[in-house]
Symmetry: C2
Subunit: 248 residues, 2 copies
DNA sequence: CTCAAGAGAGAGCGGTGCTCTCGAAATGGA
DNA sequence: TCCATTTCGAGAGCACCGCTCTCTCTTGAG
């Protein structure tokens, strides 16, 4: 239910947005650690104390930026998900499209990406309110896997000769995760409402972290004198991850 | 060539070490962003300006801590490498031992881990002097792969029916990375003196980033309400990564 | 129209990184 | 041994930070 906003309320929303915009600008220019309330206020022609009418403190402003970043990344990946659905490629191609969207957004907004997947700010712990936004980007990958599963284009790990004793390198299906991990996966699948077998969910969680690792390394410059053909490198790795999940 | 140190020089080294120790303590307690030169000086009974005789600035102190952290992580993984060589398990078991060492060190020193694999400090770019220390931890994994390759226990990607046209899910060997990536891999292999085929090196780089992703997610709390059986989860993922490299 | 609530300005607190100057102490060559 | 040079710690000070408090002015609901 959306109340009618008075002029005052509208002004408040606009100023709040202006503060966040300016903060985002400083974030992109200087990084999170150098984000300064006073500088933001100065740029907006306010005095610093006035800013505290809108955000209780620096950390809260940062939290707002984090939530927004999660949502922006979620928007990007969901858009890629829908676009890839339209042009109806293979499931692996869809997976790749979502991965690419993730990477592209991160490269375009490195400091915001650092905000959500970099080292957490000092003593700061992300409030529970961010978790909903946080799962959106991951869910796009889950969706690809779920649709592939529904279409029979997903090989569940643990199927196909992984059960018989020792490690068998010739087995077609990848070995499944051990039971305690599967238990976590079941719990997670239920909580998120995912219609996917536990071994797949377990693999998806791991792959999710690995994808973030690939993107983080690139965004944070760890590939500086290591990989030059970054796009092709990433695409290849993304397909490998898709195979690990069981996509065909 | 180690010169004989006068009393003065020795004192300087001791004080430098004391500063770094205290800084590390504050780092562990508060995180990098809250690391304060003045607080370090205060704890050491100095005045803040005296500290500038030892480090040109806060960033330089941070750089010293980063280098030390790289070395500590390198020590941990190399120790695991040697220990696993002694008890002579399978190559995958060695791989897993090195991965475990990496994870254990990271969990034991989360803030130092954040220093090296988290978001880079504001405008700060790691000086070239850190790169030697930086590669040490990665090299332990390279060594495992190289020894497995020498022992014939490594299947090179691109071998075994990946060359024929379209993607073949039944193929035993994983598909190789595309040519530009292989070119990067060759260059890297030569620069680091690695006796490993380019497709394997390419896979190792990707897997290296993915391993960091797994560890980072755990250290930074991203698995908080997602994975409970973290150790088993990690072990399973590490083995999957080993398989991606081609280890058998 | 009244009056409480909201919003901005300003001063001020303790903290930060960093610079500069000054005096004391250690060092090493004459 | 003596003395010039270097090294070091201390202190004051600058500009900035997050944050609080108070005071004034404006707004809008009753």
């Amino acid at each position: 239910m959306t109340r009618i906003q008075g002029a005052r309320e509208r002004a408040r929303d606009e100023i709040t947005a202006a503060i966040k915009d300016e903060a985002r600008r400083q974030l992109a220019a200087e990084g999170a650690a150098r984000l300064s309330l006073r500088a933001v206020a100065r740029s907006l022609g306010m005095v610093s104390s006035a800013l505290y009418r809108y955000f209780p403190g620096r950390d809260d402003l940062l939290t707002a930026l984090i939530t927004d970043s999660y949502d922006a990344l979620g928007d990007a990946t969901e858009a890629a998900l829908e676009a890839s659905a339209a042009q109806a490629d293979s499931h692996i191609a869809r997976w790749q499209a979502v991965c690419r969207a993730h990477r592209s957004w991160a490269l375009a907004h490195p400091h915001e990406y650092a905000l959500i997947y970099g080292s957490p700010v000092p003593g700061y712990a992300a409030p529970a309110s961010t978790t909903v936004s946080a799962t959106r980007a991951a869910r796009a990958l889950l969706t690809v896997a779920a649709e592939a599963y529904a279409a029979g284009a997903l090989r569940v790990p643990g199927t196909d000769g992984a059960a018989r004793g020792g490690p068998d390198p010739e087995a077609k299906g990848a070995p499944s995760a051990p039971e305690p991990v599967l238990e976590d996966a079941r719990e997670l699948a239920e909580r998120l409402g995912i219609g996917l077998p536990a071994p797949v969910v377990a693999e998806l969680v791991a792959v999710w972290a690995q994808l973030a690792g690939l993107v983080s390394f690139e965004v944070f410059g760890q590939f500086e004198r290591v990989v030059a053909a970054r796009e092709k490198f990433f695409d290849h790795a993304a397909v490998t991850l898709a195979r690990n999940v069981g996509l065909t």
